[in-house]
């Protein structure tokens, strides 16, 4: 019982501090546009080998799948999607 209580409190504390520490500044200042290529390189080979070149429409559903699986930040998801959409034919 005690352990669960401590854990629940710890998690709430972590989330509380997370909200204070939040780096999301959309409501305060204009963020610099995210670098889709860098984010693609950061995320898309973390768990598996380099993804294959796909059509724009395939990419959209797969990156949505990966957003859930990898708990991607919404901004990172959009930036990777934009990068892949623009580089459908040239990438790989």
């Amino acid at each position: 019982m005690k352990t669960s209580l401590v854990l629940a409190l710890l998690s709430m504390f972590a989330l509380g501090s997370a909200s204070l520490l939040s780096g999301d500044t959309t409501s305060r200042q204009k963020p610099s546009p995210p670098d889709g290529e860098l984010l693609y390189k950061t995320h898309c080979t973390r768990c598996h080998s380099t993804p294959p070149s796909l059509s724009d429409r395939q990419t959209r559903v797969i990156v949505r799948h990966m957003r859930v699986r990898a708990n991607l930040l919404s901004v990172d998801y959009q930036a990777v999607l934009a990068y892949l959409s623009q580089n459908v034919k040239t990438r790989d």
Binding site: M1, T3, S4, L5, L7, A8, S11, M12, A14, L15, A18, S19, L21, S22, G23, D24, T26, S27, P33, L39, T42, T45, R46, C47, H48, S49, T50, P52, L54, D56, R57, Q58, R60, V61, I62, R64, H65, R67, V68, R69, A70, N71, L72, L73, S74, V75, Y77, Q78, A79, L81, A82, S85, Q86
Partner: protein, 349 residues
């Protein structure tokens, strides 16, 4: 209702409220300031993997084909239905010939994901357990660096019938907080069984160094109630092309264990093609049984066990890989070697 379950429900509520609060402080619509052409709709896809491995171990040979199609159906701008069905069989050959064949079928997941806000995704249906990361991230045969999963994997090798809240929240300094919190009802269905359980995994990811450290908690709420804890680390080093992964399980009822794996991405070096397509892997692991024996059997080893494994993956193409591995297991009265050869194919249609 059990008080601990209540606590977990409260924990889940807090998790869902925090992201909702965030979404209220930001510009509401469009939910995502898309910089891509939104008029191109995503299409439903069939993807998945086909694998065939054969292992040799003290007088027996084992043939193991696995087929696992995945269906992805986007729903509007915020939804996704994803489902994986896995079929496999194991043909074991020893001095008396082949043993009986049995086709194992399982619904790995069949979930509806809804992007409720920037920081919250609501998942309902059947989904893999987010305890540690092996089940969610490395279990697919075309992803596993070694054909055999870690000794402690049977603990998290479950799917849940229930609900999950998950997402990621940006922190100061570029860090990212990831969370997944879930509950599951009990089901005895042969293809889609699940335990009555609840839990969460939270992690901090540092994009600059590609380092992620996670902590998991699980509470089984079936006939016997007990807690299990997990910690995990995934580090895709940037200076040297090495992926380091590790998980640990701590459970008073089920025992303790850990594994540490290193895999080299030689593709980055200007080496001959053969080496660039290769990926050497090593893993070390140990499992220790609980001090008091438990009636619960989730498939963990029955005695203290250690194992070292080494493997070599060769990418014939981007989606076809040959796999070779050797493992030596050390356990009371059972030290043995296992050699495995296999082919893994990932398809997208």
């Amino acid at each position: 209702m059990n008080r601990r379950l209540l606590l977990l429900v409260r924990y889940s509520l807090v998790l869902s409220i925090v992201p909702l609060m965030y979404s209220q402080t930001t510009v509401p619509r469009p939910i995502e300031n898309a910089t891509y052409d939104e008029s191109v709709p995503p299409i439903p896809l069939v993807t998945g993997g086909i694998s065939f491995t054969t292992s040799f171990e003290s007088g027996t040979q084992d043939l193991h084909p696995v087929v696992s199609p995945i269906f992805l159906i986007p729903i509007g701008r915020r939804g996704l239905i994803e489902s994986e069905f896995e079929m496999q069989t194991e043909a074991i050959h020893d001095s008396s010939g082949f043993g009986p064949l049995h086709l194992d079928k399982s619904l790995e997941y069949a979930q509806f994901d809804y992007f409720a806000s920037k920081y919250l995704t609501i998942v309902a249906g059947r989904f893999p357990t987010p305890f540690g990361f092996y089940k969610e991230r490395l279990d697919a045969r075309w992803i596993r660096n070694l054909p055999d999963p870690p000794l402690i994997f049977p603990f998290s090798d479950t799917s849940n019938n229930g609900g999950m809240l998950r997402g990621a929240i940006p922190l100061k300094g570029g860090f990212q907080l990831g969370y997944s919190t879930y509950f599951s009802a009990m089901s005895n269905n042969e293809v889609a069984g699940s335990d009555r359980q609840a839990g969460f995994r939270s992690s901090v990811f540092v994009p600059k160094t590609r380092l992620e450290v996670g902590f998991s908690f699980n509470r089984k709420l079936g006939d016997e109630h007990f807690n299990s804890f997990g910690s995990d680390l995934a580090w895709n080093l940037t200076r040297i092309p090495l992926d380091v992964r590790s998980e640990a399980l701590f459970s008073h009822t089920l025992g303790n264990g850990y594994w540490v794996e290193g895999a080299w991405r030689l593709a980055r070096y200007s080496l001959p093609k053969f080496l660039r397509n290769s990926q050497p892997v090593v893993r070390g692991e140990q499992y220790f049984t609980p001090s008091e024996t438990s009636a619960i059997d989730v498939g963990l080893p029955g005695v203290n066990t250690s194992r070292v494994s080494a493997g070599w993956n060769y990418y014939l193409t981007n989606s076809l890989r040959a796999q070779f591995s050797y493992g030596r297991q050390f356990a009371q009265d059972d030290n043995h070697n296992t050699w495995t050869v296999g082919l893994n194919y990932r398809f997208i249609m």
